[in-house]
Symmetry: C2
Subunit: 453 residues, 2 copies
């Protein structure tokens, strides 16, 4: 596993002197390259049970009117309203019950004046009836029923097509299928939907020092954690992780693993082996292909990384390749900044980025000049005593959350953003974003934080 | 499917007169009963690949020191610092390279004064060496290396145990296993973790009118949408949905389905059949058991519902039962208010409730007296021009999001909160909470909104 030159007190910046400045990209430039290479995956048709959280690639139209027939909104009696004018507790009216209409019945007994039908919620309203009397306004009779209230016009009648007409669009292409939208598709009479599928994402750690967690280690070996970090992050982003685990620093082995994966996944995320070391296997295997660009990104951590794709063939499209630094904090930050937005675009989302919050800095830190810094932080929220709104009328400039909560941040680990401390990273629930031109973050400063959990 | 008496202009409130007031519970009372019946599921041990998002039921301790041995934080050369005092570009010092230490090596060539070893990031630092010179400060020689900078004390040395000592707690019981925490467990040398498992939740729609979406319908029939709504909501909450689909209004059929499920799931969520209709099958089957309480909850929608459990036997614990109203909006609201917090507690979460935001009402509506109302709303955010912070020092009362965004809400469908309009519900991304004692919501009012997506 190669160093990513992001140790807080490293001399990594000297490396810049050796690198043509033209090849260093800002975060925005790198992100533009990444997102410019990514489009929503070709749509597939899936069963509704598999559609949750995916993005629609088609409009969903109703198959029939919704509801498809006039039906009762209450348990009660379908009546002819003119029979019950003046009905009240003091003037009860008793009528014969000529039918009993449960939900699901296809019966349609035509009522003539003086007749009623018992009816349950959702059952079709029989011809002739023009209002529903709720059960609470009756003696619940089954042969004869006594009614003590006069219904309003069309009372408790749900009209056919009241919700949607056949052919109406109930969901638009591009909609995220959250639960009520899955239900809307079902309600529209659809059993399948066309969606952008979840990308399959292979995750590989590189480094001859890595062993499977739980295995015995000898001097020089440590457990692989990055493949777990990045696989879980892929799943969090909505992708399907294919965790390959650790591959040693052996070009032939890595090349064989990548070649085998090429036809089976949409994306390959590697960590480690991207720097200047003698055994930087990822760079050694991928750079000669000419389809993966390696170069510094003006960020800390995450400076050295690569992005591109495996060479496509006539039969196999080349999966996207993200070659991330091996330092877990660097890998985490690079995933959040570049890989996650790309996965979300593959999924068809238009909202690609994490929610952000502006927070007050509790304990300051430093940031390198000329590089955007992403500092793993712990965000805490303090709820103030709720201020009474000064003015209860609509005020366009009112901040809806004013006076309720505010966020405060502190670095998640003593080691800083360049740390290799996985335990510190484990407590971070956000990444504070320090712009390129800022070198000192002081207590009390306001800072933008990406919320990562 | 029975009506839930929540149609906006229904006469449902009359039913209160027929119901002993003592049996009506407020939302808080019902929630207290529900949460009082629920504890985190008994822990199980799972592989790390299956642990994402679950809650730890044990502390995770490191198996060894982390890192387990002194190692290099940079690609470069392990040196004896006293050999290089005064080294600079003007005073380069050339030394023999006696070893080449790649990551993963177990080699430990003891250095004596005047010797260096090439070393890659992560490789163990050989005995005798006390600092690392980064590759950038050398000519990268492999037999002899020329060094142009004097290293600081212990430069680029990661010390054994710097992150954690063997036996240190790296994750606490109760932690949610977000990606960096799964990685921390891996890094601690653990391949499995003890977690509260995801509850298995059977979802059943009741109603003889319901057919599988996509099937042909005749007069009286409509597609089942609630089992899709609630199954997707279960999955969103972190549960494992077991979607049974629609069961007709037949007591024997429902009883048989429930009895068969009892040994295989932790929770059963039913919709429909909870009201006063003649075919209210859920109530008819469950009420005689004596283990499910049916009674009005002072809310709109969702007033009639049941909660309890299937009778336990010596061998089979009785799953929790939520009997929700059949109206999709009522089912959705009841799920959000009662079922979701219960599922999260089963999962071991301590944060049970949705994030809320205070929003400005765009278009007002009415709410029934004496009942808390949950109105499906569309929340939109407006970003104002960022105000410069008035004071860049720490201000305890500063709202961190002041001046950035504010939220505005409007009802999601013309039908109001009691509507059966699934298409309207599909657009809602929040539930506005109207307190019991409020009957009119006016444009410009501030209101609390549960964010549901």
């Amino acid at each position: 596993m190669a160093n990513d030159h992001d140790h807080p007190h490293s001399q990594a910046d000297r490396a810049d002197a050796c690198t043509p400045a033209a090849s260093a990209r800002t975060v925005s430039e790198q992100l533009a390259v990444v997102l410019g290479s990514v489009a929503p995956l070709p749509p597939v048709r899936v069963e509704l049970d598999a559609a949750r959280g995916l993005v629609l690639a088609e409009d969903v139209l109703t198959v029939t009117d919704t509801p498809p027939f006039d039906n009762s909104a209450m348990d009660g009696y379908a009546v002819i309203r003119s029979d019950l004018l003046g009905a009240s507790v003091l003037n009860p009216i008793t009528l014969p019950v000529v039918a009993d209409l449960a939900a699901g019945t296809a019966d349609n007994p035509r009522l003539v004046p003086g007749q009623v039908a018992r009816i349950m919620t959702g059952a079709p309203i029989p011809d002739g009836a023009d209002a529903i009397v709720p059960i609470e306004d009756t003696d619940q009779g089954t042969d004869l029923v006594t009614i003590v209230a006069a219904p309003a016009v069309a009372a408790h009648v749900r009209r056919a097509g009241e919700d949607a007409h056949a052919g109406d669009r109930v969901l638009a292409a591009g909609s995220v299928l959250w639960p009520a939208r899955v239900a809307a598709a079902a309600s529209a009479g659809t059993s399948t939907v066309l969606v952008h599928p979840a990308p399959r994402v292979a995750v590989i750690s590189t480094g001859s020092e890595l062993v499977t967690p739980g295995s015995p280690t000898r001097r020089g070996q440590i457990p692989d954690s990055n493949s777990f970090l990045l696989s879980a992050a892929v799943a969090d982003a909505g992708g399907i992780p294919v965790r390959i685990g650790a591959v040693p620093d052996d070009e032939n082995v890595l090349r064989a693993v990548l070649a085998e994966l090429a036809g089976t996944v949409d994306v390959i995320v590697l960590s480690g082996g991207v720097s200047v070391g003698a055994y930087d296997v990822v760079k050694a295997v991928l750079k000669p292909l000419g389809t993966v660009h390696f170069g510094p990104v003006k960020m800390q951590p995450g400076k050295p990384q690569g992005f591109g794709h495996w060479p496509a063939t006539d039969t196999v499209p080349g999966p996207l390749i993200f070659a991330l630094p091996g330092n877990p904090v660097s890998a985490h930050v690079s995933f959040e900044v570049f890989v996650r937005p790309a996965l979300r675009r593959l999924l068809g989302h238009t909202t690609l980025h994490r929610r952000t919050v502006t927070a007050t800095v509790a304990d300051g830190w430093n940031s390198p000049p000329g590089r955007a810094q992403y500092m793993p932080v712990i965000v805490t929220y303090r709820t103030d005593i709720q201020r009474a709104p000064a003015d209860n009328t609509r005020a366009a400039g009112t901040d809806a959350s004013a006076g309720s909560t505010h966020a405060e941040v502190r670095p998640a680990s003593r080691g800083g953003s360049g740390s290799h401390l996985v335990a510190g990273l484990a407590q971070a629930n956000g990444l504070a974003h320090v712009p390129e031109d800022t070198t000192h973050i002081r207590g009390g400063d306001l800072i933008t934080v990406m919320l990562t959990s």
